[in-house]
């Protein structure tokens, strides 16, 4: 592979990752790291550094559009970001004490459980049940409920936020995992918002897009100052991701929620199996 062609390959791969990551609200870090290390021979530390940049770039680009459109709920993001950053700080504190092998098992198990719980949602519409006042009292006080216009359904979808404190606790855990594994942890945030807080999948995905940038930014700054973010790798990756997320954010609003959920379930199973495999290996 010629040195001149390498940035183009990085841009192309990242472009596709940006589309997928933006549609799913994941940032794409979980795809770009294996691709860079396994297929393009980039050292894992540099791949993680580039991945963090990719997560932030993708998040900023698509969140700008989703925020303006109303699909991303800024108040929910503000509420939950306090928990994810607290979790990320805890993750930094405990990072040295945890066996990496245990992390792979833990992460793999969490992903497979998330896939299972999201699969269950396909057969029963959990939103047909009216949330009890007790589970929405805090959300009402903080004015977290919202609405957005769904171009695919051609109607304004109104939603109420359930169990905000439980959602916050799960975001704290997502923050810990994010710091320990160097990912945006959208794979944990979206099921928590969808399953526990009862948000529509598009709102979960869009709000996750908005949040993953903040969760990753502190780690990225530290990586940057430590010299673990190489511009030759991170720059084409970020450019490709930005282009891809530009397309992905537009696609997200026009895709059917059920399709997003199906793609997400498959990805969770693949990633969960991959994590468990790494734990055994």
């Amino acid at each position: 592979m010629s040195a001149d062609g390498f940035p183009l390959i990085l841009i192309s791969v990242s472009f596709v990752t940006g589309i997928v990551g933006s549609i799913l609200g994941l940032g794409g870090g979980f795809i770009i790291v294996p691709v860079l290390t396994l297929f393009l021979g980039v050292p894992i530390q540099l791949a993680i550094g580039a991945s963090l940049i990719a997560v932030i770039a993708s998040s900023s680009n698509s969140a700008a559009r989703l925020l303006k459109h109303g699909a991303a709920n800024l108040r929910i993001a503000t509420f939950l970001e306090s928990a994810t950053t607290a979790g990320a700080f805890t993750g930094v504190l405990i990072a040295g004490w945890i066996e990496p092998r245990a992390l792979y098992f833990l992460f793999g198990g969490v992903l497979l459980y998330s896939a299972y719980s999201m699969y269950q949602l396909r057969t029963k519409d959990h939103r047909t049940q009216k949330p009890t006042p007790a589970s929405t009292a805090l959300a009402t006080r903080l004015d977290l409920h919202g609405s957005y216009y769904d171009p695919q359904l051609r109607t304004t979808v109104e939603y109420e936020v359930k169990k905000p404190l439980l959602g916050m606790a799960l975001m704290y855990l997502a923050g810990i995992v994010s710091a320990l594994l160097g990912i945006g942890s959208g794979v944990l945030k979206i099921p928590a918002m969808d399953r526990v807080m009862d948000l529509p999948i598009k709102v979960s995905s869009a709000t996750s897009n908005l949040m993953v940038g903040v969760t990753s930014t502190a780690s990225a700054l530290a990586y940057f100052w430590m010299g673990r973010i190489q511009p030759q790798i991170a720059a084409p990756v970020a450019l490709g991701i930005l282009g891809g997320s530009f397309i992905g954010a537009r696609l997200l609003l026009h895709l059917r929620g059920e399709w997003i959920r199906k793609i997400f379930i498959v990805l969770l199973v693949v990633l969960g199996a991959q994590m468990l495999w790494r734990g055994f290996a």
Binding site: A63, F89, A222, A235, A238, L242
Partner: protein, 86 residues
């Protein structure tokens, strides 16, 4: 237009322009083969979400939304603590 809608537009603008400015610097750096420009582009991309959280905190303060302002402050405090600890 309501204050909340206006502030959302500003925050959306910060994210949009931050990512565009970062991308422009990265592209210019790649074309000119300048590592310095590329590094600046990466830094712009990294700090864009922090500026968004800061601006959001400012809007919440101006809107006297104490509870949400508190959550935004907690976020900023933990980002700062994480950086300091590393």
């Amino acid at each position: 237009m309501k204050f909340r809608e206006r502030s959302t537009q500003v925050l959306s603008g910060i994210l949009s322009w931050g990512s565009k400015a970062g991308a422009a610097l990265l592209l210019a750096g790649m074309i000119l083969r300048s590592e310095s420009l590329q590094s600046k582009g990466l830094l712009v991309l990294i700090i864009t979400p922090i500026i968004r959280v800061l601006a959001n905190a400012g809007f919440l303060y101006l809107n006297r939304d104490r509870a949400m302002f508190g959550f935004a402050l907690i976020t900023l405090a933990f980002i700062g603590l994480g950086l300091w600890f590393k």
